[in-house]
Amino acid sequence: MTRAMRIAKLVVLLASQLAIVAAMSGCSIQPWVKPYEREHLADPIMAFDRDPVSSAYLDHVFDAREGARGATGGAGGGCGCN
């Protein structure tokens, strides 16, 4: 097993445990950035993927020219700033 594979699995495991803890605690963790403090994060220039039609095309170009692939997608709609 490669080092990268071990790191990837460690991340999955830790994220899972984090989610379980969150569920058991009834999501009682208080956000340290309040919803009314997310004005800058809600600005369109802060979107990870502002133009999906363009970024999908460029990702495809790099995929075709390079040996590496994957992990290019954002976590998806998740800045909590909507």
Binding site: T2, G26, I45, Y57, A71, G73
Partner: protein, 406 residues
């Protein structure tokens, strides 16, 4: 738990970990969501793209539409085409220039339930010698007061590989004696995290595994052949029938005090063929009046695959043989500039809320460390096989697109 214990736990199959993650997801999704999430805005994009470099020209349209149906359901559809004219260095060496067309259609569904978004996508891609069908499923969960979003995804691809040959009329047709398959499975994990009121970060991990016919039915490798006037001869490439890769990317985006944004993206990649790659990507975004400008610098470097060689010592030198330049050792640089202009479409109906016209140009330069330009072999002038100049790729990627929010 000690690190060695963690390592032992983590030696199980990825599927077990994903099952655990899925369980955690479901638990978190029902752990007392107080506020519902929101689906992305309704939007349509019409894009023209053009790639030109290394003797290859690819252009075509892409249209993407996404529409909410009520507050909890959304549909998106994409129609994409490539018109390819290729006289690449591979083609020049072992085949003749060709024209090809690829059409890709995709349909996606999103369903929002509380703070959980479920997605399903199907993609169909067709060209005369390659048919690919893909199905993808994903879910994402907002948590910790919407500071964190965790996403999980699974993608399965079924690919049919054919080979075109010249027919009696000089046109092309499928070789009836050749038909292969290749299957893909991909597992993704994403965590997006608000760090401060000006900073957001994302971690993406993706493991992809392929099984089946993975090389090109056209490409050749070259080997030393003293009896040939060029000093080398060609044979078909042979790849392993499995390929597994892991990629981990970290993205950090920061809002600057003068209303601008800077994004840094680092990705580490490794695979079972011995390729290790690093990608570093920095984008600066600067709005000005009705404009938004983007500047991008991207650095990419990779090591070669274990079974790659520019020139093998003899025929059938090893079980696996590759001379695909994408499996060579090289470094690539990309510089990109984009501009977006927000305007009102004259006479547009009221339901169109916003529209932008966007242009983007990216220049890609790749310096190969061990892929030579075999078309320049000229023993009469002292340029022998294996001593040709190293190949460089210069390519321009242009995009022009119109976006409408409604």
């Amino acid at each position: 738990m000690t690190m060695s214990r963690i390592a032992r736990v983590l030696t199980g199959r990825p599927g077990k970990l994903l099952a655990l993650a899925l369980l955690a997801f479901i638990a978190a999704g029902h752990g007392g969501a107080a506020f519902a999430g929101v689906l992305a805005e309704d939007r349509a994009d019409a894009l023209y793209h053009r790639y030109q470099g290394g003797g290859v020209e690819i252009q075509g349209p892409s249209v993407l539409i996404r529409k909410k149906i009520g507050e909890n359901f959304a549909v998106n559809a994409n129609y994409y085409m490539d018109f390819v004219t290729s006289a690449s260095i591979d083609v020049k060496l072992s085949a003749s220039q060709y024209k090809e067309q690829r059409t890709q259609k995709s349909l996606g569904f999103e369903f929002l339930h509380g703070k959980t978004t479920y997605t399903a996508n199907v993609i169909d891609s067709k060209e005369s010698d390659y048919v690919a069908d893909t199905a993808a499923f994903g879910l994402s969960q907002d948590m910790f007061g919407d500071l964190t979003t965790v996403s999980l995804g699974f993608r399965r691809g079924w690919n049919h590989v054919y080979r075109n040959i010249k027919n009696a009329d000089g046109g092309k047709e499928r070789d009836p004696t050749f038909a292969e398959q290749m299957d893909t499975r991909a597992y993704t994990l994403g965590i997006s995290q608000i760090l401060t009121r000006n900073m957001i970060a994302s971690l993406n991990v993706e493991a992809i595994t392929d099984e089946g016919y993975l090389n090109s039915p056209y490409r050749s490798v070259r080997y030393v052949e003293p009896g040939d006037p060029r000093g080398f001869a060609l044979q078909r490439e042979i790849y392993p029938r499995t390929h597994t890769s892991n990629a981990t990317a970290v993205i950090v985006k920061y809002y600057l005090p003068w209303r601008a944004a800077i994004e840094g993206n680092y990705r580490f990649y490794s695979d079972s063929w011995g390729v290790n790659a690093n990608t570093l990507d920095v984008t600066y975004t600067h709005p000005w009046r009705r404009w938004i400008f983007d500047g991008r610098l991207r650095y990419y470097t990779q090591t070669q695959a274990d079974f790659y060689s520019d020139l093998f010592p003899r025929l059938n030198y090893a079980n696996f043989l590759a001379r695909d330049k994408e499996l060579a050792s090289y470094t690539g640089y990309t510089i990109g500039l984009g501009a977006s202009y927000e305007f009102s479409i004259p006479g547009a109906p009221k339901w169109i809320q916003k529209s932008t016209l966007n242009a983007r140009l990216d220049h890609i330069l790749i310096d190969y460390d061990n892929f030579r330009d075999a078309t320049k072999t000229d023993p009469g002038n002292g340029i022998f096989a294996g001593a040709e100049p190293l190949y460089k790729l210069n390519a321009n990627v242009f995009q022009l697109f119109l976006s409408v929010w409604f």
